[in-house]
């Protein structure tokens, strides 16, 4: 029997399938697009195909993420705060804090000794310090999002970015380019600004090491380095940080199924 977690985020819809030993048997990451229900179905099919299984093999489905309400075929819905905590705890049982930077929001989550979320802080009202912020800046710099990290790590100095607002920061970046500042140093400045924003969230919950970083932005080595400097700790990064919310949802799906049996 398999247990599915579906994380419908603003940019990607991620599915994880686990077995009864909570081992990952398949996963998928696809763009959410305009129809989140359709994306959830397609992402689930892709993960099932990777696991060599069919829908009949699924015991329970938990949906999470901002689009969780639209996954009508899920057994239940749980917030991404709880799911990221459970997913991070599954991979790093020693973790005390989770930093999740997704496409649309960022969060800091404090875990208790059992790896459950006990406190959190969210930035969900503007794009500052999120994946969307970096996406807008990459466009202004005429780079692909994936290229930002490589440039940032080459920079010797940092050009500070004073605007946190994605709209104003884009104008600032354009001005900095016009002034002739090296692109690498501007990108490093952007990563430092994301790290500073995240630090303020982490401080609000009284973060403690070990800290796990999840979400799509955890694939950006430039942000990781800036954040490690700000938090003064080495971050634990999952092999695939984008699926941790879905993994947590799958773990909860398994636990719910066990409860129903007993």
């Amino acid at each position: 029997m398999l247990y599915a977690g579906i994380d419908v985020g603003s940019l990607s819809t991620d599915v994880v399938l686990v077995d009864s030993d909570l081992q990952i048997k398949g996963y998928s990451i696809i763009p959410t697009g305009a129809d989140s229900k359709k994306a959830a179905g397609e992402s689930l099919d892709e993960a099932l195909s990777q696991a060599g299984a069919s829908q009949e093999d699924i015991g329970e489905i938990i949906a999470t993420g901002y689009g969780r309400i639209s996954v009508s075929f899920a057994s239940d819905r749980v917030t991404e705060i709880t799911c990221h905590a459970r997913g991070a705890n599954r991979l790093f049982p020693q973790a005390k804090t989770v930093i999740d930077i997704g496409g649309q929001d960022s969060k800091a989550i404090r875990l208790n000794r059992r790896g459950r979320a006990v406190d959190f802080a969210m930035n969900d009202k503007c794009a500052a310090g999120t994946g969307r912020f970096l996406e807008v800046m990459a466009r202004a710099l005429e780079l692909d999002l994936e290229e930002l990290a490589g440039h940032s790590l080459k920079a010797e100095k940092t050009v500070p970015i004073s605007n946190m607002c994605a709209v104003f920061a884009e104008s600032e970046v354009v001005s900095l380019i016009a002034e002739g500042n090296p692109r690498e140093e501007i990108i490093k400045g952007l990563h430092v600004s994301v790290a500073e924003r995240t630090l303020s969230l982490a401080r609000r919950i009284g973060y403690q090491s070990p800290v796990v970083m999840t979400g799509g932005v955890a694939k950006n080595a430039g942000v990781i380095r800036a954040l490690e400097e700000k938090l003064e700790t080495e971050l634990l990064i999952p092999e695939e940080p984008q699926i941790i919310g879905a993994l947590g949802a799958a773990v909860i799906a398994f636990e719910r199924a066990q409860k129903e049996v007993s």
Binding site: Y66, V78, T79, E80, I81, T82, N112, R113, R114, R116, A117, V118, D119, F120, M122, D124, K125
Partner: protein, 333 residues
């Protein structure tokens, strides 16, 4: 009662006097859909007052014989200034003290006397029989909210307050009594104190299924009264209103904390949700006082900031649901 409706903004407006003068008091609650009012009031003023102003102009509310604006904050004073220039509205400014001692009570007593004169100018007459019955009815509401039966599904209290708005207090009491007796809470419901400013319907809806102690002017603060002490009707009413659980606008926050201490002793409060109304200075400092209090009591607290907009529900959904999930998970251990 046949004198028409009197609209009012703040629950420091004594409905007893309005009913006693033969009118129906009608609370100006925020509209279900936000109505623009930027040309009337600046967008950096209280969203509650702004939305009521927009709704009043758009014809959302029924016709009012007159409107009472208590000077609860600067936004309400701006609202009064606008209405007082309009020919279509008879409006009265009820000046509400910021302190609650004997001098404040004397001042508020004079305000209530002026309110009565204004009601009489509108054709009302303070009828002894109606006044006595109205005082009994408002006293009954206070009794219903006084004891431990203040837990309820927030969504139901909100609906009751809206449904019985503008109807005699006696009818509201009957509905409230029946509802409190028959209340049917869900198994494993969490007990949440909802405090801060008047909450949006969307926040109340998210909390459906949980047990809510509503410390806002739609709940405890709006329905409880102090003792009726004094030499005459106006001094007794002044005492009763200024000695009820205070609104955050009053300068002595200690009495508010005393109420929370009493609630902690009698109710099992598992978490607190603080509704912070955008652009409300009072909310900003009240939150800091409450934050310290609840931290000292080890009770988890969540601040939710809104401008009473319907579109904000999606944004606060994850925040509130995650907070409830952390409470279900059992906290630090």
């Amino acid at each position: 009662m046949s004198g028409g409706r009197i609209g009012f903004l703040c629950t420091y407006t004594p409905g007893e006097l309005i009913e006693g003068a033969g009118f129906n008091p009608y609370r100006l609650l925020p509209p279900s859909e936000a109505v623009g009012s930027e040309d009337l009031l600046d967008s950096n003023l209280c969203p509650y007052v702004r939305q009521v102003a927009g709704a009043l102009r758009s014809g959302y509310y029924p016709h009012f014989q007159g409107i009472v604006i208590a000077r609860s904050c600067e936004a309400s004073l701006h609202f009064y200034n606008i209405l007082s220039r309009e020919r279509d509205f008879n409006v009265f400014l009820l000046d509400l003290p910021r302190q609650r001692g004997p001098r404040a009570q004397k001042y508020f007593q004079a305000q209530l006397e002026n309110l009565t004169k204004w009601l009489e100018e509108l054709g009302g007459k303070l009828n002894e029989e109606e006044l006595s019955s109205s005082l009994d009815d408002y006293g009954k509401t206070r009794e219903l909210f006084q004891d431990t039966r203040i837990r309820a599904k927030g969504v139901d209290i909100f609906q009751l307050a809206s449904e019985y708005n503008g109807r005699p207090r006696r009818d509201f009491n009957a509905a409230l009594e029946g509802f409190l007796n028959e209340k049917c809470l869900e198994e494993n419901a969490l007990s949440i104190l909802l405090t801060g400013a008047i909450p949006p319907q969307g926040l109340i809806n998210i909390l459906e299924g949980e047990e809510i102690i509503l410390d806002t002017c739609l709940g405890l603060r709006g329905f409880l009264r102090g003792e009726m002490q004094g030499k005459n009707l106006f001094s007794r009413l002044s005492h009763a209103y200024l000695n009820r659980p205070p609104c955050p606008r009053f300068l002595d926050g200690e009495d508010r904390l005393n109420l929370f201490s009493r609630l902690l002793e009698t109710q099992e409060i598992q978490g607190v949700i603080y509704h912070d109304l955008g652009f409300c200075d009072v909310s900003s400092y009240d939150f800091l006082i409450q934050k310290k209090f609840w931290e000292d009591q080890n009770v988890p607290l969540l601040k939710v900031k809104t401008e009473l907009g319907r579109g904000e529900t999606g944004q606060i959904l994850t925040r509130v649901e995650a907070f409830l999930e952390t409470l279900e998970e059992g906290g630090e251990e």
